[in-house]
């Protein structure tokens, strides 16, 4: 039976019942112009790489902080040491005597490998399944002035996201996820590579394009701060939208429990 033929009231009823004899089955995409609230929300690859990056994020921030504490001053240009003018003196203690930096460095680069492999799996799968085009690139309907203003204002006021956001990413999500995954994350890797004397011996442009070793370090630090800011807004929005259902969707793939999906 084609759902388009059903009377709208009847369709509403069928959806509300959500019972096994209803023509609306989870995973069906026959509902025209309306998304199925019982459909799979996040693919397995998205879920697994998401949680890998939750761990990576924590490891990156902790180990990066441990490394930063050895010299919490930022410079611009090629060189910078004590005795040279700095760009910013961060209000942090200079910690040299604790044994946190060596393990921090080990952890930072191990995390970078995990993040890189997981990111590659995500990127290849996202291209293959059209996840980026379908779910991450802003839709034409999102790009109206009214819509943009509303979604930005919702975020700025930390308003509870509308229920339809449980089915698809809103404009702000699309733009920020896109910027984080295809802007900030690659930028962190490139500025990280720029600090490696071994990698820059092969690709000097990685560091010269930033104006030098210390510039790359400073940019690495500020981009990390943007990522932490993104994380804080992201977690806040998840809590506002309903921490349980959003986490369930990112773990099981579905925003509602299996029993209710029947």
């Amino acid at each position: 039976m084609d759902l388009a033929e059903i009377d709208p009231r009847q369709r509403e009823l069928a959806q509300r019942e959500g019972s096994s004899h209803s023509p609306v089955q989870s995973g069906d995409s026959v509902l025209h112009g309306q998304e199925d609230p019982l459909a799979l929300r996040h693919s397995l690859v998205v879920r697994v790489t998401h949680w890998i990056h939750v761990v990576c994020f924590i490891a990156f921030v902790l180990s990066g902080f441990a490394i930063l504490l050895a010299y919490p001053r930022l410079h611009w240009g090629e060189t910078g040491t004590l005795g040279m003018p700095s760009l910013v003196d961060l209000p942090l203690p200079m910690v040299l005597d604790l044994g946190i930096r060596g393990p921090g460095r080990y952890l930072h680069f191990l995390t970078a490998w995990v993040s890189l492999f997981s990111g590659l799996v995500y990127a290849i799968s996202g291209l293959y399944t059209h996840h980026f085009r379908r779910d991450l690139l802003p839709e034409r309907s999102d790009l109206g002035w009214q819509t943009i203003r509303k979604v930005v204002s919702d975020h700025l006021h930390f308003r509870r996201p509308p229920p339809e956001d449980a089915q698809r990413y809103n404009l702000m999500q699309r733009l920020s996820y896109f910027a984080v995954m295809f802007g900030l994350f690659p930028f962190m890797f490139i500025t990280g590579f720029a600090m490696s004397p071994s990698i820059t011996s092969v690709f000097p442009i990685l560091v010269t394009m930033f104006g030098g070793h210390q510039s790359a370090r400073t940019l690495h630090f500020f981009a990390a701060n943007l990522l932490v800011l993104f994380l804080m807004v992201h977690v806040t929005m998840v809590i506002l939208a309903g921490f349980g259902s959003r986490c369930r969707a990112m773990i099981t793939g579905y925003p509602v429990a299996r029993k209710k999906r029947s």
Partner: protein, 253 residues
């Protein structure tokens, strides 16, 4: 799809785990054969260390050159983290301006040799203006003058089986580099810095200068160099004192 833990699932997972471990072991053996396995490859951090070392060795296999700078870019300050040893025999040798100091080179060599500081200074030297990057985050540029390590390895007749070069300084911070880094044209036994003799705090009489690696690999106050095909029986087998205090053996990033 059932979420129950079935016997089949346990067996499949077990087999996958065994295959994974065996695969890693085989990968480590192959990597070691091609000189792509770091000495501190054990443990969970060893996975990241091995990937970093292997990847960077492949990337730099064509003897990529560290960036060099112009004289005008030489930094006005060049800090050190630790001052020179205040104990003997270093103090005694320093008091005599290193006239009694000898650099001993032994191991897998045809002719073990001892070089005085004047011997080294009379050998062909090279000056590179490069940046020293400390793992702490700071960096400076200086001109280092010294003998290419490859020249010393030729003079003593290093064996073709040599895989590692081990450095023993007057302090406890011994270390090693692989033969690829040792034969690199920018790798120097530096006895001069910014046109003067290397100062005690910067590692007099000679320090290792490898500009493709971080500052802590550029060992100071060197007394003896030993060439070997295995690091297993030296210290705890991890190739340097660095892993003892939590640092990676490889300092390329």
């Amino acid at each position: 799809m059932s979420d129950k833990i079935t016997r089949r699932r346990i067996i499949t997972t077990g087999l996958a785990a065994v295959t994974g471990v065996a695969g890693l072991d085989a990968a480590a053996k192959i990597a070691d054969h091609y000189g792509l396995l770091a000495p501190d490859h054990q443990g969970i951090f060893g996975v990241g260390e091995s990937l970093t070392y292997g990847a960077q060795r492949l990337l730099t296999a064509h003897r990529s050159m560290a960036r060099e700078f112009s004289r005008s870019e030489i930094s006005t300050v060049s800090p050190v983290n630790h001052e020179h040893p205040d104990y003997d025999p270093y103090q005694r040798l320093l008091f005599n301006n290193f006239k009694d100091w000898r650099l001993y080179v032994d191991g897998l060599v045809a002719r073990p040799m001892a070089f005085s500081l004047n011997d080294l200074k009379s050998l062909p030297s090279r000056t590179n203006i490069t940046q020293l990057n400390c793992e702490e985050g700071w960096s400076y540029i200086a001109a280092w003058t010294g003998v290419p390590l490859s020249l010393i390895l030729n003079l003593v007749g290093a064996s073709p089986n040599a895989k590692w070069v081990v450095f023993y300084p007057f302090n406890d911070f011994w270390g090693s580099i692989d033969i690829a880094e040792a034969l690199h044209p920018q790798t120097l036994l530096a006895h001069g810095m910014n046109g003067e003799d290397l100062s005690p705090d910067h590692g007099a009489p000679i320090r290792l200068r490898i500009p493709r690696q971080l500052g802590y690999k550029n060992l100071k106050y060197i007394a003896r160099i030993s060439i070997t095909d295995s690091l297993k029986n030296i210290g705890d087998g991890t190739g340097s004192a660095a892993p003892d205090i939590g640092y990676s053996w490889y300092g390329g990033i």
